[in-house]
């Protein structure tokens, strides 16, 4: 409950700071924001786009949050997402299966690809105590260059050197009924997968012995060891699952929002996942909501730009400020406490003052 308040205040502060920036640069914040939200919500297509933009963020946010809950800082989500997406794309381009089956296989392969990418830092951490921040961020570049080499070598279309061939219809998470329902938006089945995964992850973290073990290792490795929990195995599992979630995000991104995979791009969704997780207080539901919020910002931004004279760079700064406030919600928490304390002190002071006057 308290966390929700903190996150909401963080968002509010971010919006206020953004408003100040708009005002300082000579733009009307109210029009700015009204277009921002209109851009994300004005019609079915835009709502669809907002949710679709949020979908990969749900996964990357979950990946970060899951690792975080188990005491690991998985900063390699971008690479895991990329590699998971790559594996799924490879399957989607090469296997001729009926659509439902193919999509399920792609999701599984995407999960495994991301997991594989995260197992490496997991093993290094468990076996040699190599800090996962370092090793997972290195894996980002391994993924980047692997994809860079492998896409043109194996998955490219005839003329294109920098991206894979387009996925066939059967391998796309886009389905006609959704596209039509949202007036041609690129919303896709990824969103439903995301909802299911949010529930599953929430269940695993909160209700299972497995989650209990992972969190125990995260909070206190020594105590977990003392309790007979296989600590190293837990670390590897945590990383693998975290990476797998990122990999699913890759499927949602490359086979859902996009329809092919590009080289030379480390998906920014991977890093946004950190902010999403922080704003979502590392809880699955929180991550889902904060991802939706980010999706709204990202998809409404362009319309704000188009309708006002706010230049894109300022719009980027506004979004960055909001994210910044969201990510530093711990400060907000302190601020709230300080405020409460001060108010209490004030009331106390004033009552004692009155007391004195009374005497």
């Amino acid at each position: 409950m308290n966390r929700i308040v903190v996150s909401l205040v963080a968002v509010l502060f971010g919006l206020l700071a953004g408003a100040v920036l708009m005002a300082v640069t000579g733009h009307n914040p109210i029009t700015g924001y009204s277009y921002l939200f209109e851009g994300g919500l004005k019609n079915p297509e835009r709502i669809g786009n907002t949710m679709a933009t949020a979908t990969p963020l749900v996964f990357s946010g979950l990946a970060v949050a899951f690792a975080f809950r188990t005491g690991l800082f998985n900063i390699g989500v971008a690479g895991q997402l990329l590699f998971g997406g790559f594996c799924a794309s490879a399957v989607g381009l090469n296997w001729a299966l009926p659509k439902p089956l193919l999509l399920i296989v792609m999701l599984i392969v995407g999960f495994l690809g991301g997991a594989l990418w995260a197992i490496v830092p997991g093993l290094l951490k468990a076996r040699f105590n190599v800090h996962e921040v370092v090793s997972s961020i290195m894996m980002n570049w391994v993924a980047y260059w692997t994809v860079y080499y492998a896409v043109p070598a194996y998955l490219k279309a005839q003329y294109s050197e920098t991206e894979s061939a387009q996925l066939p219809e059967a391998a796309s998470l886009k389905v006609p009924f959704l596209t039509e329902m949202f007036d041609g938006s690129f919303i896709n089945l990824g969103l439903f997968v995301a909802v299911i995964i949010v529930l599953v992850v929430g269940f695993i973290i909160n209700r299972t012995t497995f989650g209990y073990e992972l969190k125990a290792v995260g909070h206190n490795r020594s105590a977990a060891e003392y309790a007979g929990i296989a600590v190293n195995r837990s670390i590897v599992f945590s990383m693998a699952i975290s990476g797998g979630l990122a990999g699913l995000g890759g499927v949602a991104l490359y086979a859902g929002n996009a329809s092919n995979i590009q080289i030379g791009v480390l998906p920014s969704q991977g890093f946004d996942g950190i902010a999403v997780a922080l704003l979502g207080a590392n809880t699955p539901i929180g991550v889902f909501l904060s991802a939706m919020f980010f999706g709204l910002l990202y998809s409404g931004r362009g319309f704000m730009n188009a309708m006002t004279e706010i230049p894109p760079e300022i719009a980027d700064s506004i979004i960055a400020i909001i994210i910044y406030f969201a990510a530093t919600s711990i400060l907000i928490e302190r601020l709230i406490r300080w405020f409460i304390r001060r108010r209490r002190a004030n009331t106390k002071a004033s009552t004692s003052q009155e007391g004195k006057v009374g005497m």
Partner: protein
């Protein structure tokens, strides 16, 4: 109609790749740099050129939008070039302009921004770069009321079957010709020694710059008495357009190996190379960079008024954008066409001002330019037996 357009496009594409003298079919391409005589558009559809006319007459007034590719608006390359053309046109013709920067580089990101521009009333949309190909393919159907200019690419559904609808025009450049001229100029200016090439990603436009450059150097060696060599090690594709640090490193390695001039067709990577060159030039070394896409002379300035930019292999992106906007105001939008900007229509070439080239060099380069225009020199757009 649609079928014809398809066939036409196909022909144009083959033409552009094989470079059979076809050139720019449309006169508008040629009449590039001459500023418009009068901003008031003549809205008579009958005046439109030989090309299949756009279905509707050009509106009296419209707003011009642009969506940027990855990178910033001041990337000294595609985005900037396009935007400068758009701005100039908007100013000359009294139009309103706006650019949007997508959050990512996927088709969905591009579509979103195109939709934003359209919803905000910007119905003449310019997009730079081949990455927009599939997005424009969809957009031209989804927004039949809008007009699209796709620079350096052609709309297709991901299958490379190009379909240019009547509300779209697709523009290519003859980068190899531009590279060729830069190669000749470089050879003439330094006379002998090693030169090198740093590319961004190994994609056709960059490759064509490279191959043209090599042919140009060879031409100078064969016909103009220079002794320039390009070693295999000194032709490198870095792999991205934004890794500035890597650009500096690659340039440093090449200069250490004795390379005098580097042709950097690599966006941000090229910026790194320029930085390295500036550092060395300040220390009194003789090193040069050949810029790309736009006139990069100003980026290479050091010690007040000197610059490490020997010359630049330009694609006149700004002209292309300008011309298309102007054509629209005149009701002559060449919808459904694929245009090629090359030497013949002055769509590629070296900068007008070249402070680091001697008048003799410039004169000879000009001769070569004329020969390309006349078809006497044919520059190949394929690798053939060239390096990478």
């Amino acid at each position: 109609m649609r079928k014809t357009a398809k066939i036409f496009t196909g022909i144009m594409l083959v033409a552009s790749l094989a470079l059979t003298a076809c050139g720019a079919k449309n006169n508008n391409g040629g009449s590039s740099s001459s500023p418009s005589t009068s901003p008031s558009p003549s809205a008579t559809p009958s005046a439109s050129a030989s090309a299949p006319a756009s279905p509707s007459a050009a509106p009296a007034s419209f707003q011009v939008g642009m969506v940027t590719d990855s990178g910033t608006i001041d990337d000294k390359s595609f985005n900037q070039g396009t935007w400068e053309g758009v701005q100039k046109a908007a100013k000359d013709l009294g139009l309103k302009e706006k650019y949007l920067k997508p959050t990512g580089t996927t088709e969905a990101d591009y579509m979103k921004e195109i939709g934003n521009l359209f919803d905000a009333g910007y119905k003449f949309i310019v997009t730079p770069g081949f990455k927009f190909e599939t997005a424009i393919f969809k957009a031209q159907d989804k927004y039949p009321d809008a007009k699209f200019v796709l620079i350096d690419g052609g709309p297709h559904a991901g299958d490379f079957k190009y379909v240019v609808k009547p509300n779209t025009v697709s523009i290519y450049f003859a980068e190899h010709e531009s590279g060729y001229l830069a190669g000749v100029a470089t050879a003439l200016q330094v006379k002998e020694g090693d030169v090198g090439f740093i590319g961004g990603m190994e994609i056709p436009p960059v490759q064509k710059f490279n191959w043209g450059f090599q042919q140009g150097v060879k031409y100078a060696n064969d016909n103009l008495g220079t002794k320039i060599s390009i070693k295999k090690d000194n032709v490198i594709y870095q792999g991205s357009f934004d890794n500035v640090a890597a650009g500096s490193q690659l340039a440093a390695q090449m200069y250490d190996r004795g390379v005098k001039v580097i042709f950097a067709a690599a966006g941000g990577v090229g910026v790194g190379a320029i930085n390295e060159a500036k550092t060395r030039a300040k220390a009194g070394k003789e090193v040069w960079i050949v810029g790309v896409d736009v006139d990069q002379y100003a980026d290479g300035v050091y010690d007040g008024d000197k610059s490490v930019i020997l010359t630049s292999a330009m694609k006149k992106i700004d002209h292309a954008a300008y011309d298309m906007i102007k054509a629209e105001t005149e009701g002559k939008f060449p919808g459904g066409q694929t245009l090629i900007f090359d030497a013949k229509n002055d769509g590629v070439g070296l900068p007008v001002e070249n402070p680091n080239l001697t008048p003799e060099t410039l004169a000879k380069v000009d001769e070569v330019f004329k020969k390309i225009q006349s078809g006497e020199i044919k520059v190949a757009a394929e690798q053939g037996d060239l390096l990478k």
